[in-house]
Subunit: 176 residues, 2 copies
């Protein structure tokens, strides 16, 4: 049975999503895009836009599992709190739709998609375009979300993927 | 028509909730308690416990509005992110049940319930017990949640309460 992975790059302003199909060793692009939360609007309204947006994506594309980037910002506590709230809203939407959720750090995504953890953003995007045979480059957050989905597709065949599907953090590199 | 307020004190380990009825100038205790998320469990499982727990509270007590403490921690970015995620999950549960959500800082809660913003935690709890005529002191997080609900009851009669109900932050003190 084909697996359909929903990848998510959570953000307090823009949350990217990307959906891919995994059939054996093949990965096929299904959809990608961004959910933009209205700036200046109350936090509760932004949370609602985010959750409703993800519900729409899940209802439309019916993924069988999901993967979300493990964010970490150190700019200031207020920004970290805000990002945490957005990520909490994303996780809520996923678990409420009973989707298995795997988590990957940005380092793991880069290692998986590009082959090393220090790859610049542009190289990740280039690999996303190449691996999914896209005719254009998706918006940056959507591309990041597709990269998370691809990382999950790569990892989740093995034992580390099984751990990640249980939500455990994977430290270390790409599976051989 | 009576208002029933659900107050929430979000936390990454323990989230307190408190439900009160507001009838004119009277406040009546309805219920309070804690939702404990399983430590060591994957984040997604903890988010699910939190969201499901709040859904249960909402289904059981049918509040007409909600108020949540505006948290802020500065211990370290990881703790701040974790707390943000818990708070994001709480907000998701509230907005998905179409509850109006007001936000109050700890300072505002203390000002409203005790009369000044530097009151120690014990004094807030004492006022909660007194104002709601409780026979015992609730668990600390449940008491904090009841204090948030009381603060909202006090504020939401006036213009600042109307702002808070729209999710706007209130800077400054208690309404005269």
């Amino acid at each position: 049975m084909a697996r359909r992975i929903l990848g998510i790059d959570p953000g307090s302003r823009i949350t990217g999503f990307g959906v891919i199909d995994v059939i054996g060793q093949q990965r096929h692009y299904v959809a990608s895009g961004c959910i933009r939360t209205p700036q200046g609007a109350p936090l509760t309204e932004r949370v609602k836009v985010l959750v409703d947006g993800l519900f729409d994506v899940i209802a439309t594309y019916r993924p069988t599992e999901s993967a979300i980037e493990q964010v970490f910002v150190n700019v200031n506590p207020a920004a970290t709190l805000m990002l945490g709230q957005a990520r909490g809203a994303c996780l809520s939407a996923l678990v409420m739709r009973d989707l298995p959720v795997a988590e990957y750090t940005a380092l793991q995504v880069k290692q998986s998609v590009v082959g090393h953890g220090k790859a610049p953003k542009e190289q990740v995007q280039y690999m996303v375009v190449t691996m999914l045979n896209l005719s254009g480059t998706p918006q940056a957050d959507a591309a990041d979300a597709l990269a998370v989905a691809l990382a999950h597709a790569n990892h989740s065949g093995g034992a580390i993927g099984a751990l990640a599907r249980q939500g455990l953090r994977i430290k270390g590199g790409r599976l051989a």
